[in-house]
Amino acid sequence: MPAGGRAEATQRAGAGQAAAVATSALTKRFGDRVAYEEVTLEVHEGEVFGLLGPNGAGKTTLVRTLTTLVAPSAGHATVAGLAVTEANALAIRKRVGVMPETPGLYLRLSVEDNLRCFAELRELPDAAAEVRRVLEVVGMTGRARDPCGALSKGLRQRVSLARALLGSPSVLFLDEPTSGLDPGATREVLALVDELRQGGATVVLTTHRLEEAERLCDRVAILATRLRRVGRPGELRRRLFGAALTLRTAGPLADPGALLGGVPGVQRWRASAPSTYHLEVDDPRHAAPALVRALVAAGADVLELTEERHSLEDVYLQLVSKEDARR
């Protein structure tokens, strides 16, 4: 996605935006077993929102609740402006598109017949034209007459995505859209989701592939039965790990305490190897130039100065392992 598009999407996800999905203390129990509890979150219009969590974290059940398949045990939720209740089930289903983890296609029927049925169920005025449109979106126009059973897994996922796009729903729920796909097919499906986000679609994406979430999502929520954290991937990283720089010099600094400790914005430092230093900073954008100036002035030979990057995986593992330790 172009940088401008991403920035635009991030802006759209900002405060003051209408919530496409909102939950408040939403809980689902099956007898004594808790699927998820006390989930409070908001997904803004035009935002790609990632629901991350390990297997059994309650992601799929949460999506099923929001798409009216599973009734909540407590709390409340709204989807596309409607309260999630039995009475609103039909209206909500008209406003959302769902791509479940398994494509769930009628393998004996053609791609076109599969989509036609769901277009008719949505009461679209020109079902045939809408089927053609969504097939074009997912690049499957040439395979319309093929039986779904003859398609590869990746192509079936595309048909499943096309089905979710019928009628241009207000909110798209994609449950593990790349589950079980090879890297090539995964890339194709992700490219399609990326196109949707560029088009301004509101997408709720569940996944446990963190690189996927990092690439596609404006914000993510980490769910492990309870909601652990919600935020932009970068924010979560900063909140959990802070900002840090790694400095490598040609030889050990003569007086690192005086040099590094005197640079504005450097909170703490430690030597992680004879000529390598780890510095915790307030803001790398300000601290790095000041540090370079100080090093040059002190005559130090700088080999490398990099910002330490923690992946979303680090954030996820930190949050989920904290939870495991608590249990």
């Binding site: 007898g31 398949l69 599973v70 769902v98 479940p100 769930g104 029927l109 049925c117 008719e120």
Partner: protein
């Protein structure tokens, strides 16, 4: 009730059914057996023996066909979707439960009624053309033909609801199919008892059975709609 959505479900079911050779052959074989046997009887029956059967309603034996034809098809409707993973997308679609149930039921009902009428017509034609006149007058009696025509859709509908109810509760396709056939046997037994004059027949009995079946069919629709609980079907818990 939105008929467009009902039609969409029924159309999809019929398309899928047409391409499912196993279900179609299972649907055709069992009823064919029920037609072959009376045909053999009609051709081996002597005129004297036919006269002795004049007070029986031999033709009603064929009511076993509409009782059995829908069983396999109906037993596939829910558990079949569940096992092939298509149920969740369908339940997530904007369609009411009663519409979904009716669409699926129509896709069982229409071919089952057609197959039953076809086999009945075939039987009548062969008997009329090739059996001895005394046998024809014993077997083909106008009231029995009327009963056959009226009761065929009623029995098909009843077997459909029973099969769908089993399908909605079952977790295994084969078990659902076998249970649905077993569940249709009591209906077959009643029709045989009437055919062989063990249960007395007549207009009042026919009316009683007819109204009873009609009411049961209405109740069946409601019961099956209630059983199609999305939460239980997608999570397997509740």
């Amino acid at each position: 009730m939105n008929l467009r959505r009902v039609r969409a479900v029924a159309r999809k079911e019929l398309l899928d059914l047409r391409r499912n050779g196993n279900v179609v052959s299972a649907m055709a074989i069992l009823p064919a057996v029920f037609v072959v046997e009376p045909l053999i009887q009609a051709f081996t029956l002597t005129s004297r023996a036919a006269l002795a059967l004049h007070h029986d309603h031999v033709l009603l034996y064929l009511l076993a066909v509409p009782s059995l034809v829908p069983a396999t098809l109906a037993s596939y409707t829910v558990v079949g979707e569940r096992t092939q993973g298509t149920l969740e997308p369908l339940l997530s679609a904007p369609v009411r439960r009663d519409e979904l149930v009716l669409g699926k039921a129509l896709a069982v009902l229409v071919p089952s009624v057609l197959v039953s009428y076809l086999l009945f017509g075939l039987y009548l034609t062969v008997v009329e053309l090739f059996a001895k006149p005394q046998v024809v007058s014993t077997v083909v009696q106008a009231p029995d033909v009327a009963v056959q025509l009226v009761f065929t859709p009623l029995l098909v509908a009843w077997s459909t609801w029973v099969g769908m109810a089993i399908s909605a509760r079952a977790k295994d396709l084969r078990a659902a199919s076998q249970l649905a056939i077993v569940a249709s046997l009591p209906t077959v037994a009643v029709t045989l008892l009437v055919a062989f004059a063990i249960v007395p027949s007549g207009l009042k009995v026919a009316l009683g059975f007819g109204i009873g079946l009609f009411v049961l069919d209405r109740v069946g629709w409601r019961v099956v709609t209630g059983l199609l609980d999305p939460e239980r079907l997608v999570t397997g818990i509740r």
